[in-house]
């Protein structure tokens, strides 16, 4: 009885199609428990009022109350503005700088040199973000090294992290410092993957270098460009550790990016229902941007 039972199970498992469920099961269960279920829980929570700091108030249903509170909050809109502003500027600079650097690196023939250069250039991208934030906080102090270099250039010392505008510039600069290597290396890999034959044919036909770039290189690089932009936008919209470490959202909440605001609402004010609603709004914003980008993409392809 036992033997035939086991061999029957084994037969079912061996059958071509069925083993696929076995392979995908652990991942599926894990993701369900740690992502899908929390997402649903968060969704339901967003329609309730729950404040862990005021447990005597209990948890009750408030419908769209939390969402309305978010959407009518000045703090929320400043955060949206700050996040969008930061993301737009940082991703653009990362892309153009990255492209420029990739082109420069591409003109280097020796693979040893490109490897050593890549090794150094990848550092800003792989270092722990919170450490990077704190390091720049160290560098940007009023009597720190950055101000020293600036004073040598007569650009004067700047009170970087205490003024909203200069703090924004600082956060953007650190964001660019951190993400440009990624853009550069992906675009460089893209450039290196382009077939030489096309360029040789173009050279024979007498195409100028600029035309080469516009009509051959750029179109062929598009999948890499899309990859860089989508990855960077998705990452920068959710940025948390960097602004947390650099200014904690300050000065005066001027650089309170959305994820940071979500953290403050949920884990400093412990207003869980509001935090849940806020995070769904953040998710919506990210979704909208991805969809807009994809729409623009399919339009451009025509």
């Amino acid at each position: 009885m036992n033997a035939s039972f086991h061999s029957r199970i084994f037969d079912i498992l061996q059958k071509r199609e069925n083993i696929k469920y076995l392979f995908i099961l652990p991942t599926g269960i894990f993701l369900f428990l740690t992502i899908i279920y929390p997402l649903g829980y968060s969704f339901i929570l967003s329609f309730h009022s729950m404040n862990l700091a005021k447990p005597y108030l209990g948890t009750h249903f408030v419908g769209l109350g939390n969402y309305i509170e978010c959407l009518s909050s000045q703090r929320f809109f400043s955060s949206v503005k700050a996040t969008l502003n930061y993301t737009a500027i940082v991703v653009s600079v990362q892309f153009f700088l990255g492209l420029g650097l990739a082109l420069v690196l591409n003109s280097v023939k020796s693979p040893k040199v490109t490897r050593s250069v890549s090794t150094v250039l990848i550092l800003p991208f792989i270092l722990t973000p919170v450490a990077v934030g704190l390091i720049w906080r160290f560098l940007l102090q009023y009597n720190g090294i950055i101000n020293y270099f600036l004073s040598l250039l007569k650009l004067g010392p700047v009170e970087w992290l205490s003024e909203p505008l200069s703090a924004r510039v600082a956060i953007i600069t650190v964001g660019v410092w951190r993400g440009t290597p990624f853009a550069m290396l992906v675009l460089f890999a893209g450039l290196r993957s382009l077939p030489i034959q096309i360029y040789e044919a173009a050279a024979i036909d007498g195409v100028s270098k600029v035309q080469c770039f516009r009509y051959i290189t750029l179109p062929l690089l598009i999948p890499f460009i899309n990859f860089v932009i989508i990855m960077r936008v998705m990452f920068e919209l959710k940025i948390f550790a960097l602004p947390y470490a650099l200014t904690g959202g300050g000065p005066a909440r001027s650089n309170e990016m959305l994820s940071l605001l979500g953290y403050i609402i949920s884990f400093r004010l412990f207003d869980m229902g509001l935090g849940a609603a806020l995070s769904y709004l953040i998710f919506l914003i990210i979704l909208i941007f991805i969809l807009i980008y994809l729409k623009l993409l399919s339009k451009a392809e025509r």
Partner: protein, 284 residues
Amino acid sequence: MGQTMRTKKGWKEMVSYLFLSGLIIGAMSIAIFPVFWVFLSSIKHEVDVFVIPPRWVFQPTLQNYIQVIIENPVFVRCFMNSVIIAVSTTVISVIIGSLAGYALARFRFWGGEILPLSILFVRMVPYIMLMLPLFLMMKSFGLLDTQIALIMVHTAFNLPLVTWLMRGFFMAIPPELEESAMIDGCSRFGALLRIVFPLVKTGLVTVIIFCMLLSWNEFMSALTLTSRDAKTLPIAIKEYIRPMGILWTEFCAFAILMLAPLIISSSYIQKYLVSGLTEGSVKQ
């Protein structure tokens, strides 16, 4: 006449060569300067750090490192936590993620492309959205401030990427190889292990690097789910921000110690990171 033409071309090439090299060296300096300056500051006495103009020649000291490692027990404990969590996460993510990636690469599931795309979709979720319910869930299971909690969460963060990348790597290998092995009597799983596995070695290394990197550097879940026992390095370093003032030299030593593994393995990381990412993602 011919000679003048050659020298002209030589000049132009040399100027552009110098210009491009200058750009590259400039970029490298910008990339490495913060780390360099922090390292320099970490071997300075407190007194030498904030002098204007900055001191390039000074009496070095290991006092800060001694303070971080020996006098302050936090560092060693957090280092162990980070290592244990990163390694466990990587092992679990890579094993079950690769299996899932293989299944998605070889078989058709109901919904066709929806399942793989939803994996990508999950990556769009801002982590803050998950932290709230995860915090409440961990609280009710009594798992707050445990390594297990972080291992589970980091694995959850890693799995979509691992699955997506491994799927890409598996799709690059012709299925005929496994099929011929199975005709010879191998089971599907056996074929996977013996034939396909050696061929995706570079893909596996890429994915391992990603998982270790993500877990080592992870901040948000460590911040919300730990307080003392399971504290990881990123949390320990953020605690240098104290209202009473920051011990900058000690912070620099801590930072260098924490970032040293990353810096040392950067050439290794660089090799696999971008090639793996683009091969596994861009071409899908």
